[in-house]
Amino acid sequence: MSFVSVGALLNSAQQLPLWQAVLEDDCRDRGVEREASFEKMAGLWRAMRRSAADYDPDRRSASGLSGGQAAKMAAADASLCGPFIQKVMTTALKVGEQNACMGRIVAAPTAGASGVMPAVLLPLQERDGLGDELMVQCLYVAAGFGQIIAARASISGAEGGCQAEIGSASAMAAAALVHARGGTAGQMADACAMALQNIMGLVCDPVAGLVEEPCVKRNVMGAMNALACADMALAGVASAIPCDEVIDAMNAVGRLMPASLRETGEGGLAASKTARKIAGRLGE
């Protein structure tokens, strides 16, 4: 892809909608027709919907650490956050648990963070009766910002910590939500920047080295952060630091992280007494 900065992406988006600038770039990059590119993205949207719809509350992961949580969240009455956010949280847990239990998901941008995008987009589509075409456009917006984060920083927990996985997913989702609500390209960049700022420094510390605890629950946090940052951007709240500089700062923070906090299962929560006990039990 040709975009190495959000600045360049915003420039391309002066003549045409940002999602379309990303689509045109994909057509040039892979040598495909517009229809072929759009149909491929539409396939991912359908797969995302299935990843939540196929949720089986009785399924458990091989380790026994994951499964059944989304059903509890869905059944809770009088959620503090209200019914819409309850649905967002439930969807994030559903897809996160699907992933942990070897179900089929869409890596967005990674498998561990696969719950964030569907968690914000599916309930919004349902609540506002939005068309599938608009939702596919949202995925282009997310992919556009995501690839710049991947190019300038990282989307791998082993390289940049959880900020690179849930953080990237949350930033991509925030930008996508701004598009869904008819915001400007500048507001998408602000939403992306603020979402990354909020999660900056988050370490990757999976218990027993598995993509389960705390990963599944962090999908919930990533989704709620995306909603809040999109709302802020749409209200005119801007990021004081330009998006590219935020991404570069996140990259620098990732590089400063010791290996024990980058998906090795050695530091953070993974180093707690209980986590070590769980890891020991699974190792037997």
Binding site: M1, V22, D25, D26, D29, R30, K40, M41, G43, L44, A47, S61, A62, S63, Q98, N99, A100, C101, M102, G103, R104, I105, V106, A107, A108, P109, T110, A111, G112, S114, L139, Y140, A142, A143, G144, G146, Q147, A150, A151, I155, S156, A158, M172, A208, G209, L210, V211, E212, G265, L282
Partner: protein, 221 residues
């Protein structure tokens, strides 16, 4: 990297490196062997060995050997399906020298008695690299249509191979050459931009000095 490396792939969880990449390693071995193996010996190294059970790495590799893609919902049942298909599978953990943390070594045999040994690493995001074939060094991803040619190490042979590609207007993306010793056996790995038709592959296989020509196209059904 394109936008569908960011959004996607559709895959069975929980880990793009430990699950989706592992399926791809198994699938690559199957394609290189030419058919479903009847026996497979799998050695898991590093993080593949340490967290492989929780990530389903063992099931994922066997699923690939059975011909499943990384999004096949039957991946969790792969060991059972292999047993039903009459594939004998042996999986163990071990240490490989100077290997990437997510590396597997596979030795497979098919019904015709053909054997293949590969070492491959999962690099993240479901992408892989084959490090060795039958004990000879190599380095390719399977992301391109790839020719793996076992040939005699003598002057001019690369010219003869590439002439066939040139005459069929096939564009080469990368070329790698490895050999065990001067004048011995060599492995030539050629990655091309577009799929290579069968007659072209047969033409290369028939060249004097070419011992074996294997073709890998992961897009092929």
């Amino acid at each position: 990297m394109n936008i569908f490396d960011i959004m996607g792939p559709v895959m069975v969880g929980p880990s793009s490196s430990h699950t989706a990449g592992a399926v791809r390693i198994g699938l690559t071995a199957r394609r290189l062997l030419g058919s479903t193996p009847t026996a497979a010996t799998i050695l898991l190294h590093g993080s593949f060995a340490a967290t492989g059970a929780g990530h389903g790495t063992d099931k994922a590799i066997v699923a690939g050997l059975l011909g499943m893609a990384p999004d096949d919902p039957d991946i969790p049942r792969a060991l059972q399906l292999a047993a039903e298909a009459g594939m004998s599978v042996s999986i163990s953990a071990g240490e490989l020298r100077d290997a990437h943390p997510n590396t597997a070594q596979l030795a497979v045999t098919n019904r015709q008695g053909r054997t293949l040994e590969i070492s491959a690493s999962s690099l993240g995001g479901g992408r892989i690299r084959v490090n060795a074939i039958d004990g000879m060094e190599a380095a390719f991803s399977g992301e391109y249509p790839t020719l793996i040619i076992r040939n005699e190490d003598r002057p001019g042979i690369l010219l003869e191979i590439t002439r066939v590609l040139y005459e069929q207007a096939a564009n080469i993306a990368t070329v790698q050459l490895y050999r065990d010793r001067r004048g011995g056996l060599a492995v030539t790995v050629i990655e091309c931009d577009d799929p290579l038709p069968e007659p072209l592959r047969r033409q290369i296989a028939a060249l004097d000095g070419v011992v074996r020509c294997t073709y890998l196209d992961m897009e092929e059904g």
